[in-house]
């Protein structure tokens, strides 16, 4: 294979996952938390695809597609929750919205 070894892709994925995890743990806006989760999911996808290339087996790519579909579903639900919170005049701050009550 031309170019970098698979290990370099895995390092990039690890860095991305760390960045995403930091975002989820530190930011307070639920929108940014959702975006950071997307970064983490994409880091996992990058590892799956890197290993699929390494093994010469397409199963990893199929899994990555399934992850993409789940991520799309998660965004739909997450954004629905955020819009519902905004409509009920709940402050959009993950530290304050801690009670799960209708």
């Amino acid at each position: 294979m031309d170019g970098p070894d698979i290990g370099w892709y895995l390092i990039v994925a690890a860095l991305l996952f760390g960045i995403g995890a930091l975002g989820v743990m530190m930011r307070r806006s639920p929108l940014i938390v959702l975006l950071s989760t997307e970064i983490m999911l994409n880091a996992a996808n990058l590892t799956l695809i890197a290993f699929a290339r390494q093994q010469g087996d397409l199963d990893g790519q199929i899994f990555a597609l399934a992850v993409m579909a789940v991520a799309a579903a998660e965004v739909a639900i997450g954004l629905g929750l955020i819009v519902a919170m905004a409509r009920r005049r709940i402050v959009l701050d993950v530290d304050q919205a801690s009670a799960l009550r209708g």
Partner: protein, 176 residues
């Protein structure tokens, strides 16, 4: 494609990917965060192309950078100023703990990758030109991975219904 050219493209894509990732997490305005994530997804698609995942790279740009992020930008536009929350929460101790936890995750992964590097990460399998093409992925989806395909469609259907239910205002609230 020559080796040097691949390395250059890899560096640009990986650098862009990490820089936009940092931007997503650090920028205060959610609108710019969402825009940075589009850049992040696009540079990831370049990395996917280098890993012979052509169909996934196309799906990434179409589904993620296209459809999902448009949804995000609509919600950011709908919320307007209400989308801005303080940058970080909790006492300083919690924030420091978050940094330590993220760094620990990173170090763990890097150590594991480093340990495996010499043994089995260096010689990737030989793959044909059609590896990762839409035809091969599609064939796998309707043969050995049919169940995963069907479950994915159910997940998406449930999410779509859930999104509609969450977005509908209850009648008693409209009366208020």
């Amino acid at each position: 494609m020559s080796n040097v050219l691949v390395w250059i493209i890899w560096f640009l894509a990986a650098g862009g990917c990490l820089a936009t990732g940092v931007a997503v997490v650090s920028v205060t305005n959610p609108f710019y965060s969402a825009l940075a994530l589009i850049g992040n997804l696009a540079s990831l698609a370049v990395l996917y192309l280098l890993l012979a995942a052509e169909f996934l790279a196309a799906a990434q740009v179409l589904v993620y950078a296209g459809a999902v992020m448009v949804m995000f930008l609509f919600v950011v536009a709908y919320l307007g100023g209400r989308a801005d929350a303080p940058w970080a929460g909790g006492p300083p101790l919690l924030r420091a703990a978050a940094v330590v936890a993220a760094a620990a995750l990173l170090v763990e992964v890097v150590v594991v990758v480093g340990l495996a590097w010499g043994d089995n990460l260096q010689e990737p399998a030989e793959v044909s030109d059609s590896f990762g093409s839409p035809a091969e992925i599609g064939e796998l989806f309707v043969t050995s991975h049919l169940l995963a395909f069907e479950i994915t469609s159910i997940v998406l259907l449930v999410a779509a219904i859930g999104g509609v239910v969450l977005g509908t205002t209850p009648e008693k609230e409209e009366a208020e």
